[in-house]
Amino acid sequence: MNTTPALDNTDNATSTECRLENLQQFIASLRIRSETGSTSCRTSGTRMVSVFNIPKKKREVLVSDRDVSKRDERIFSLIRERGAMRLLGATASAEMAEAIGRLHATHPNFSSAVNYILGEEMLARQKNTALCGLRILLHGAPGVGKTDFALTLADLLALPREVISMSSSQASAQLGGSEEYWSNSQPGIVWKKIVQDTHANPLFVLDEIDKTPTNWGDPLGALYQLLEQKSAAIFCDKSVPWLPVDTSMANWISTANDVERIHPALRSRFTEFEVQAPSESELINLTQRLYSVLLAEFSLNDRFPAELGMDAKAALANMSVREAKHVLRTALAQALRENRDELPINGKGHSATSRRRIGFL
């Protein structure tokens, strides 16, 4: 077999029992591959790794714990059906490095973070493995493109991603699951993403981690374990405490405006990068790229000039990336509605369409 399924190491496992389990694991990994569209496991080159050991038997629970027992049964069926093998995406390679390197052009103000990721890619290439276990904290003023960078990176790496808005997170259950004694207990996002999905190294984006509310418990509590290599390798979701899952390969990117509001113990688990707003010349290049992307997205390359006008460039160069994106989109919509040949962005700070004010005047 091209993958080695996880075998049970308990004393009562015999080699003959493993024959059936091995084949079941192999078939489960075929199913996982087929879900991602890379069914030809010989040629895809994507490795698979084991993220948990399938328990031999369902654990015994007290007779009165019917809810727990039923939930255990469902989870036990799920893990047997899907098996323990998950894909290891973002295989390190020269092509991968080239793709990451393109971030220098598209996100010029993230060059130190890009260099760091390129370094990690090189280390992964040395070990003939994939980009795993990135723990990056991007902090800087609002609107400099932190979330966009994280999402663009996820797309480049072709990894499944999960964006978690920490500012609206209310409890630790979101990441680490809820305690199993609750009748409606369920696993957290990390467990679901790895066990129920296809990859061992998905990308989690923790957006605005510094704005995590703490009045309903600690939504970040599980991160102390998830971001530590050794403890992440045996992460137990509170809802499924009997199944340690290897979450150490997951990639994490957090964004924050004010890094001082993050607990030092948590900060120390990340590699931090302060992101400055792009310089004027960087922003001019960036807005031109954003404009090209917009034209391509709406198939308008033949309708509008490929280059932004000087006035528009000058106006956009005074904005944040987020503002510039917003103004470009609004101006494009307006140009289409008014049948103009150019985007109505003038030198007065933003689109010729004045920003609508909402509320009492």
């Binding site: 078939i27 199913r31 047997r80 098996g83």
Partner: protein, 179 residues
């Protein structure tokens, strides 16, 4: 009914076939038929008359067809049961229950399962691959060969819990325990 269809074993549920020694009986009956045919050449007029009325060849053929039918039913059903054990990883209890029901339908079925095991394995590999393809999984030649090779080495004890195996195959279980 299992996920692949009806077990062929159900075609052999008539009371005449419930004797636990059916396979031995069939073999003995065939021998008897040949002996009777030989007796028909002797001098006893009554015996000669009775035996001449007996179409030994036809009866022999009927016994043979019955035995062949049992063999095919055993190999087809076991192939389905093996495929279920392999494919339905999330519900091994059901697979074991099906095995238990099938093996306990009459005392000679475990014996037939053992005798038809190799043929069952071949058929089950084809069933597994067919099922995977119908689930939308691309099974290329290399993968198919791996599945076939993995199934080819299965033994009955790989698919049954030890106590169940020992209850249906006590001789083999004892021999394996001793070795």
């Amino acid at each position: 009914m299992n996920k692949f269809g009806r077990f062929k074993q159900t075609n052999f549920r008539d009371w005449q076939l419930r004797d636990p020694q059916l396979l031995d009986i069939l073999a003995r009956q065939q021998q008897q038929l040949w002996q009777l045919a030989r007796v028909a050449n002797k001098d006893d007029a009554v015996v000669v008359e009775a035996c001449q009325a007996l179409d030994a060849e036809l009866l022999h053929y009927a016994c043979q067809r019955l035995r062949a039918g049992l063999d095919v039913a055993a190999s087809d059903d076991c192939a389905q049961l093996i495929a279920q054990s392999v494919l339905d990883a999330s519900n091994q209890e059901d697979a074991v229950e099906h095995w238990q029901k099938w093996l306990s339908a009459a005392a000679y079925w475990p014996d037939l399962a053992s005798k038809q095991w190799c043929r069952s394995l071949e058929k089950s590999a084809a069933l597994v691959i067919e099922q995977l393809e119908s689930d939308g999984i691309e099974v290329n030649q290399a993968t198919a060969e791996e599945i076939e090779a993995a199934i080819k080495v299965f033994e009955l004890k790989d698919l049954l819990p030890p106590d169940l195996y020992a209850s249906f195959f006590p001789m083999q279980a004892t021999e394996e325990a001793e070795s």
